[in-house]
Symmetry: C2
Subunit: 592 residues, 2 copies
C-alpha cells in the first residue's frame, strides 16, 4: 500500500496500533525554543515551522493549534484540505478534546515531548492518553535529519565566575533543604550553567542537548552523546559519571526505589515522571532551583555582559554610521540598500569584534511594513529597500565569549509623517518610563510592565508581546524565569538579574517600531533597585516629537547618550566617530 | 472547680474531650470584615479585637497569629503571660503546627468559622483536625451578647436597578452553564444583592446575616431568623421558601444526594462541604458567580452612586469650610478643635443630607502622628488637637439610600515643613497618575497599582496597603472581587466597576497622608477604559510643591476642581461657598 502523505502514513500506523489519534507538539525533549531539524516532527507532519504549536491527528480530521502570532503563517504553510487551524489559547486543546471527542478515545503521545503540567491538563480531556515510546513518526520519517552532535566546549571559570564544584555544592544544599535525593535536569541551559560548558547542537543556541541527574551530595551523572565530548578536558569529565543520552530514563527508573526526585512540572518530560514512578520513587514537584541560581548573575558574569556590550555597541555604531551615510546616497542612485544587505553588513562589523563568537539569534532586519510583523526574518522574496520614507527596525545581538547582547533600534533616515512620529514618540516614552524607574527590591515583572505601555494606552494603542525577558550569560537569549509582561510572573527582581526592556508598536501593513535595551538590575536606595543599561547604542531621536518629552525623559536620554559617547568614541572607526557625536548630542540643547 | 480565666476553662473542656488544642479564628460564618459582638470569640478568649487573627490554644501554650497591621495592638490588648504573638503571614499557622506539634495531634475547630481553602491548608499541618459542632466556647462564654436580629429592609428596584427575579434567572443560567444544581450562598452581601434587601445586624454594615440556596431553576431557599423579616413585604417572601438559619446545614445535607453544589472555596465554611458530602452530593469548587455579577454595577446603581456623591460632596465642603475657618481661630484661642469634635461635626453635616442613612464605616479622624496609623480611630485618650502645624487626615463615608461613599482628604491649615510637602506632593502625584490613566478594558488591578506608588518609589518610599478596593452599592465598603494592589488580582476591570484610588504615605510617630477618591470604570476609546471620579471634594493643594506637578497633573486637577465647583456650588451653605471657590481655583493660574 502506497501512502501519498506523511499524514496518511501516520493514520495507517495509528490504526494498526488501535489508536484513535496522536498529539504531535512542536517540541524536543528539552523544551527548546529553537529546535534542531531532527526534532521538527510537527513541521514534518504539517508543514508548519513556527516556534510553538501542537497537532492532533485523528482518523478523519487533523487539527493544528497555534497561537495568535502564527495564525497567518499556519494558514500559509499548511495544506488546508488536510488540516484545520485552531487557536492554541482561545481554544485550549484539552477543552477541544473534551467537547469534541467521545470520552475514552485512545490518543497517543510521545512522553519525552510533553511536560508534566501539559500532561495533567491533557488528562482532563476525558481521553485515554497512551504514551508511545516508539513514536510512529520515527517509522514514517525516512528522510529525517541526523540528531545533532555539536561539540561541547568548556566555559572557563574566569568567565563564568563560579566553579562547577561550587555550583553543585549549592544545588546539593538546596536539594537537602527540600528533603529530596535527586534533581533531574532536562533544560540544556541549566545543565550548561551547572557544568560550565557550552554547546553547538542548534544554531545560535550555545547549549548542549543532554540530560543530567544531580544528587543531594552534589554528585552528577551526565547523559550525553559521547561524540560531543571530544573538546572537554578531563577535569570536568573525571568529576562526574557520563552515560549515553538514551540511558537517562532507565537510570532514573533504576535509581528511584525509595528516593525522592525534585522535578519541575513546567519543563520536565512526563516520561521522567513515569520512569521515577515505575522505579518506586517519589516526586516533589517544585521549580528547578538551578533556574533561579542561574538568573542571579555573579559579578564576573555581569562584568562580562558589560564588556561584551561595549564591543557590541561599537559594532552597532559602525553599522549605523555606515547605514546613515549610505541609505540616502543609494536611494538617490536608485539602488537602495535592502534589509538583507544591511544585516550582512552588520554581521561583518560584529565579526570585527575581538570576542564575538556568533549571533545570539536570527537578526530581524525589517523595513516599512515588514517591521509590523514582530517575528519577521528577511528573505530574498520579501527583502524590502531601506529608504528615507519609512522606518527601518533592526533587532539583533551577539554571543561574545564573555556575554550575550540583544538590542533593537528603529531608525529614521528622512522625514516621516505625523502619525509615525507620534507612534515612535509614544514607544520611546514608554521605554524611558520603565528604564528610569526605581522600584522596591523583589518587585515582580507584571507590576512594572504597564509603565512601558502607558504612553501608547493614552493613544488607545498597545503591543501584543511582553515588555522584557531575561537574557542568559552566553546562554539562551530568552532566559527564564524573569519576565516583564502583562502575564503574572512570580519571580522577584533582584540586583544581578539581566533583562531586556523592549516596548514596541506595530501597525499591520504600515510600520513597526521597537526600542530595546538590555539592562541589569542594580541596588539603589536601601531596599530599592534600578535598571542600569548594558546596551550602549544611540537612540534615534530624529523621529521624536521633543515637545512631548518630560524633563525627566530628557535627563535620562542626555545622561545615557553621554555615557554611550564617552565609552564608544575611542572604539569606533574614525568614519563613524562624527556620526556618534551627532547621534548622542544632548536633547536639552536642541529643545532649548 | 473554679476557673480564673476563659483560657483555663477552655483548656479544661478540651481535656475532657480528649482534644490537644483548638483553633479560634476571628471570624463569623459569613466571613464578615466587621463581626457582631456575638461572634467575637477570639476577643473573648484573648482580648484581641482586631479585624483579622487566629488563636491556637494548646494545653500548655496559647498562640495568637495576627498580621503586620496588628502586631502593636495585639501586644497591648493580650495578656502576654498567657499568649505568644506570632505573625500571620510570615509564619503561617499550618507551617507552625507542622514544625512544632507532634503529628496526629487532635486540634478542634468550629467548621462554620473556617472556610474550605483555609481548611485544606490546615490539613497540611500533619495534625488531626476535629470539627466540633458544639463549640466549647459556647459553654464557657456565659456573658455572651445575643445574636444580632437586625430588621431586614427591602431595597426597591428603582434603586437596585434589577428585580430579584431577573437576578435569580441570571444566576440560574450561570449554574446551568456550569452543570451544577445548587449554589450555596453564605456571604451576606451576595444574598442582599440577590434578594434586593438590606440588613442591620452589624453597625455600618447594611447586610443581613443569613444563608441561602439557589437552584439552577432560580428557586431560592433563604435561611434567616424570622424575627428579622417583619419589615419585608409579602412579594419577596412569597417568591421563596424561608427556613431558620439553623436549618441551613441540615437542608444542604438533605438536598445533596446525587446533586452538584457550586461552592466558593475562598468563603464557604467547610461545614457546608461536610454537609454536602455527607448527604451524597458532589462539589464544584468555583468562584461564586454572584460576586462578579454584583461588582458589575448597572446604570441605575451607577446613577445612585453619582447622586449620593453629590450629596456627600456638599456635606464634605460644608465640613471643610467650617474646619478651615475654625482651626486657626480655635488654635489661637488656646482651645483647638480635636479629632473627635471634628468627626462629630462632620457627621452633623452628613445628617443634613436628604438621603443619608448611616456612616459607611468608622471615621478615621486623625491629626499629626495619629494619622501614621492606617487603622486609627479616635478615642478620648488619644484625641489630638487639629492645628496649623500638622496634617489632619479624614477618611469617612456614608451609606445613602441610593449609594455608598468613601473618601479621604489630608488637610493643611498652616505652613508645613519641606519633608511633609515633599511627601504630600508624592502621594498626590501617585493619585493623579493612576486616576488619569487610560487602560485596556479587562486590565487587572495588580497591573496598575504601581502607577500610584512611583512618585514615592522615586524617593525610596512606599506604603504598606493596597491602592484601591471595590465599593458595594449600599453594601460593604470593601467589596470583592476587584482590588488594585501589589498582590495579584485576577478579575478584569470593566465599565461599571466601582473602586477607590487611595495611595498614602505614613511615617511612624510623625505624620500620615492619604488621598482617596471613589471612581467608576467607564468606557473610553474602543477597547479602552478610564476612571471617572464619583467623589466630589476639593483636594487640598496648599501643601503641594506645584513645581513638581506635570502639565497633565495640573490639567486633571483643574478639570476636576471645575467639576466639583460647578456641581456643588448651588448645594453648599452660603458660608461654605467662598471657601469652595477658593479651594477649587485653577492651579494653572497660580503656577503661571
Amino acid at each position: 500500500m502506497q501512502h501519498t502523505s506523511p499524514l496518511a502514513a501516520l493514520r495507517s500506523l495509528l490504526k494498526e496500533r488501535e489508536l484513535d489519534g496522536m498529539l504531535i507538539p512542536r517540541a524536543d525533549a528539552h523544551q527548546s525554543e529553537y529546535c534542531a531539524p531532527f526534532d521538527a516532527k510537527l513541521e514534518f507532519i504539517s508543514g508548519f515551522d513556527g516556534s510553538a504549536g501542537l497537532a492532533l491527528i485523528l482518523a478523519d480530521r487533523a487539527l493544528l493549534f497555534v497561537d495568535g502570532r502564527y495564525q497567518v503563517q499556519a494558514h500559509q504553510q499548511v495544506n488546508l484540505s488536510e488540516f484545520e487551524i485552531h487557536h492554541l489559547h482561545d481554544e485550549p486543546i484539552h477543552l477541544w478534546m473534551r467537547e469534541n471527542l467521545p470520552s475514552g478515545q485512545r490518543i497517543a503521545f510521545e512522553p519525552m515531548l510533553i511536560v508534566n503540567n501539559q500532561y495533567e491538563q491533557l488528562r482532563t480531556s476525558g481521553c485515554d492518553l497512551v504514551a508511545v515510546n516508539d513514536d510512529p513518526i520515527n517509522k514514517i520519517w525516512t528522510e529525517r535529519p541526523a540528531a545533532p552532535r555539536g561539540a561541547i566546549h568548556p566555559m572557563p571559570v574566569e568567565i563564568s565566575g563560579e566553579s562547577t564544584a561550587s555550583k553543585c555544592a549549592r544545588v546539593a544544599e538546596a536539594l537537602t533543604r527540600e528533603g529530596v535525593d535527586y534533581l533531574a535536569l532536562t533544560l540544556p541551559d541549566n545543565i550548561a550553567w551547572l557544568l560550565n560548558v557550552r554547546g553547538s547542537d542548534i544554531a545560535m543556541s550555545p547549549v548542549p542537548l543532554s540530560f543530567a541527574l544531580i544528587k543531594n551530595d552534589g554528585a552528577v551523572e551526565w547523559f550525553v552523546d559521547e561524540a560531543k565530548l571530544q573538546q572537554l578536558d578531563s577535569g570536568l569529565l573525571d568529576s562526574l559519571k557520563t552515560h549515553s543520552a538514551d540511558a537517562f530514563l532507565p537510570r532514573c527508573k533504576q535509581l528511584a526505589a525509595g528516593k525522592r526526585f525534585l522535578l519541575d512540572g513546567d519543563n520536565t518530560p512526563v516520561a521522567v515522571r513515569f520512569a521515577v514512578e515505575q522505579g518506586g520513587g517519589e516526586i516533589e514537584w517544585l521549580a528547578d532551583p538551578v533556574t533561579l541560581m542561574k538568573a542571579n548573575k555573579n559579578s564576573v558574569e555581569l562584568e562580562g555582559y558589560r564588556s561584551s556590550h561595549v564591543e557590541d555597541g561599537a559594532a552597532w555604531v559602525n553599522f549605523l554610521a555606515w547605514l546613515s551615510h549610505e541609505v540616502p546616497l543609494r536611494e538617490a542612485a536608485g539602488n537602495p540598500i535592502t534589509e538583507l544587505e544591511a544585516q550582512e553588513k552588520q554581521l561583518t562589523f560584529r565579526q570585527q569584534c575581538e570576542n564575538f563568537w556568533e549571533q545570539s539569534f536570527g537578526t530581524i532586519s525589517a523595513a516599512a511594513s515588514n517591521a509590523a510583523m514582530c517575528h519577521y526574518h528577511s528573505a530574498p522574496e520579501t527583502n524590502f529597500a531601506i529608504t528615507s520614507k519609512e522606518f527601518y527596525l533592526n533587532d539583533s545581538g551577539g554571543q561574545y565569549y564573555n556575554g550575550t547582547t540583544d538590542a533593537t533600534r528603529t531608525l529614521n533616515f528622512g522625514q516621516l509623517d505625523g502619525q509615525r512620529r507620534l507612534h515612535y514618540t509614544a514607544v520611546l516614552k514608554g521605554f524611558l518610563s520603565l528604564i528610569s524607574l526605581q522600584f522596591p527590591q523583589g518587585t515582580q515583572g507584571h507590576q512594572l510592565d504597564a509603565f512601558a505601555r502607558r504612553p501608547l494606552w493614552e493613544l488607545g494603542l498597545d503591543y501584543d508581546h511582553g515588555t522584557g525577558h531575561g537574557v542568559g550569560h552566553c546562554l539562551l537569549i530568552h532566559e527564564n524565569p524573569h519576565r516583564m509582561a502583562k502575564k503574572v510572573n512570580p519571580w522577584p527582581m533582584l540586583p544581578g538579574n539581566v533583562l531586556t526592556i523592549e516596548p514596541g508598536y506595530y501597525l499591520a501593513g504600515s510600520h513597526g517600531i521597537r526600542i530595546e535595551n538590555q539592562v541589569e538590575v542594580v541596588a539603589s536606595r536601601p531596599g530599592f533597585c534600578k535598571f542600569a543599561s548594558l546596551t550602549l547604542i544611540p537612540i534615534d531621536l530624529s523621529a521624536v516629537d521633543l515637545s512631548l518629552l518630560s524633563e525627566q525623559d530628557i535627563a535620562w536620554l542626555d545622561d545615557y547618550h553621554q555615557q554611550v559617547r564617552e565609552t564608544l568614541s575611542p572604539l569606533v572607526s574614525s568614519d563613524a566617530r562624527p556620526w556618534l557625536i551627532e547621534a548622542t548630542a544632548p536633547v536639552r540643547a536642541q529643545r532649548a
